[in-house]
């Protein structure tokens, strides 16, 4: 207080030292937080290395054939995971195909068209779908969804598209179709909830700009609101895909768990997550166990790759390049 301005200017260093502080409490606090922040990446690292270490015998034995071949014979000790990889990707993509239009529709309706009193209750109920345990979805699928598909969905599908290879064979219930539909229902709340947040974050000025130039509400959604939020919407879809890839219980109960690659969605299939869950307890040989670890490793790599791809897409889209002009 009493120091002159001259003196302050002459001695900036010591004052700064005081401000920077040698406070012990601060240092401890900082140390603890740093350790906490680092513990999660370390855990991830430990997880990956453990997976890789345990998968190593199978990797060494089968090499890339593990990914390409379809024989899964624990007795003979021959393992090829191609059907599970195919089944995982096929069921997830099919689920996205069903879930994305529905979720986007729900999100657009809730943000743009629904009367105000309806918005909160409906979005709450949609999000509540995410809280239902996976095994309950599985049960519901077995007792409700499959009979429904058998009675009301498969016959008309067959009647119209039965000539395609995608609908060949007998429909027994447990199938790629049933697994995909249950997956779709399970990821809708995620995609819808995130999409809704994204659309809510689109500035009112964008909507008004579109409406002000004579767009209908529908046109305003598609010319202004959805393009503005597309980076976030892609993120929402990828989040759903991530959930679908890793979902285990409900899929296991519905997909049929047959180690086979087939084009028909009416036939049983298998996923990586389902295989790990089903077979871990019966993996009697070291090689069998190792093969399951390798399946886990592949699932992990695919999930990471999907998320990395999503980041890349979001990053590219969000740079604000004129994507729309390419359509001309």
């Amino acid at each position: 207080m009493a120091t002159l301005p001259m003196e302050q200017a002459a001695a900036p260093e010591p004052r700064w030292q005081v401000l920077r502080g040698t406070n012990v409490g601060d240092r401890v606090y900082r140390g603890v937080l740093t350790a906490q922040a680092l513990s999660l990446p370390l855990l991830l690292l430990a997880l990956v290395s453990e997976l890789a270490l345990n998968a190593w015998p199978a990797i060494r034995r089968f090499g890339v054939h593990f990914v390409w071949t379809s024989v899964w014979d624990p007795v003979a000790g021959v393992f090829g995971a191609a059907p599970m990889i195919f089944g995982t990707i096929a069921s997830s993509l099919l689920a996205l195909l069903l879930a994305v239009p529905l979720s986007l529709g729900v999100a657009i309706y809730l943000t743009e068209f629904a009367p105000k009193w309806l918005r909160q209750p409906v979005s709450f109920l949609v999000e509540l779908l995410a809280a239902i345990p996976s095994v309950v979805y599985g049960l519901w699928g077995v007792f409700v969804l499959i009979p429904f598909l058998r009675t009301y969905v498969v016959p008309p599908l067959r009647a119209t598209l039965g000539w395609t290879p995608f609908l060949s064979g007998v429909f027994y219930g447990n199938s790629l179709l049933a697994g995909s539909v249950i997956l779709a229902i399970m990821i809708v709340p995620y995609i819808a909830a995130v999409s809704r947040e994204v659309l809510l974050a689109v500035p009112v000025s964008q909507r008004e700009a579109a409406l002000g130039m004579g767009a209908t509400r529908w046109e305003a959604v598609w010319t202004a609101v959805v393009p503005y939020g597309r980076a976030g919407l892609i993120g929402a879809v990828i989040l759903g895909l991530g959930r679908a890839l890793g979902e285990t219980m409900a899929v296991t109960m519905l997909i049929g768990n047959r180690h086979d690659i087939g084009l028909s969605v009416l036939q049983p299939a298998y996923t990586m997550a389902a295989a790990i869950a089903n077979e871990f307890s019966e993996a009697t040989t070291d090689l069998y166990l190792s093969a399951l670890f390798e399946v886990g490793l592949i699932l992990f790599v695919i999930t990471v790759a999907v998320n990395a791809l999503a980041r890349l897409m979001i990053w590219r889209v969000a740079r604000g390049t004129a994507v729309g002009s390419r359509a001309l």
Binding site: A210, M213, G214, T223, Y228, G324, S325
Partner: protein
């Protein structure tokens, strides 16, 4: 095409009251907007001038709880008549907002063409010509003609606002509404917009809301002063600014409040 200049009264309001729920923010306002003139609406913040403007192309009714009583007549026909399609109407009465609102995912070209595309599909050559025409009228063509495919976000704030003017002009409206179009622009950008208004009024009837009294004096033929939702005074701009008849107007334009 712009209507013939002899169309005497193009736009008028008759006892227009605009409400949010039960709260009236514009009270019983009747104004005639003569064809091919610029009318400026001035007044302190919250006086209802923007809401009034938004009633003229039925944007007000899109706001939560927004509704009106009274009439808005375009060529003698009430635009609030149940038979009138608000969407079609907004293609005849264009609007430019306070902040530039280009569509960020679209190119410069697409931004201008957007107003045409929502109007139904047309041949490519016709869109090209309309886009060029609109950009020329918005005095932006020379600056962007070599980069029509670039993102609209590559433009400066002032250029973006002129792009929004071009977008509003592309569907060939008769009336252009501007809601504080220079509020977020620097002096150069502001000057370009004001120069633009001088040229545009030969073809369009313009209503501009502004906070800037000098701007109102520079660009408009008529000025209306709003206060607390009432139209206090309306007159030729030079008269309103030099010898206002109401003491509230005088207090406002001499800077004693607002």
């Amino acid at each position: 095409m712009a209507p013939p200049a002899d169309a005497r009264l193009q736009l008028e309001t008759a006892r227009l009251t605009a409400l949010y729920g039960r709260r009236a923010v514009v009270k019983d306002v009747s104004i005639l907007f003569p064809t091919h003139t610029v009318t400026a609406l001035i007044g302190p913040s919250g006086c209802g001038k923007t809401t009034f403007l938004r009633c003229l192309n039925r944007m007000h009714e899109l706001s939560e709880g927004g509704w009106i009583t009274g009439k808005v007549l375009l060529h003698g026909e009430d635009i609030y008549d149940p038979g009138v399609d608000a969407v079609q109407l907004r293609r005849r009465i264009g609007m430019v907002f306070q902040r530039p609102t280009p569509f960020p995912t679209m190119s410069i070209y697409d931004n201008v063409a957007a107003g045409l595309r929502v109007n139904g599909s047309r041949p490519r050559a016709q869109i090209d010509a309309a886009v060029e025409g609109a950009l020329r009228r918005a005095a932006l063509w020379d600056e962007v003609k070599d980069r029509l495919r670039h993102s609209a976000l590559d433009l400066s704030g002032g250029q973006q606002q002129r792009l929004c003017v071009a977008r509003a002009l592309a569907p060939e409206p008769e009336v252009l509404l501007l809601d504080e179009p220079t509020a977020s622009l620097d002096p150069t950008g502001t000057q370009r917009i004001e120069e633009l208004l001088h040229e545009l009024k030969t073809r369009y009837t313009i209503v501009i809301v502004t906070h800037n009294l000098q701007q109102a004096a520079r660009v408009s033929d008529y000025t209306g002063f709003f206060y607390l939702g009432d139209l206090v005074e309306l007159g030729r701009t030079e008269e309103l600014f030099t010898k206002p008849t109401k003491h509230q107007t005088e207090a406002y334009i001499t800077g004693r409040f607002g």
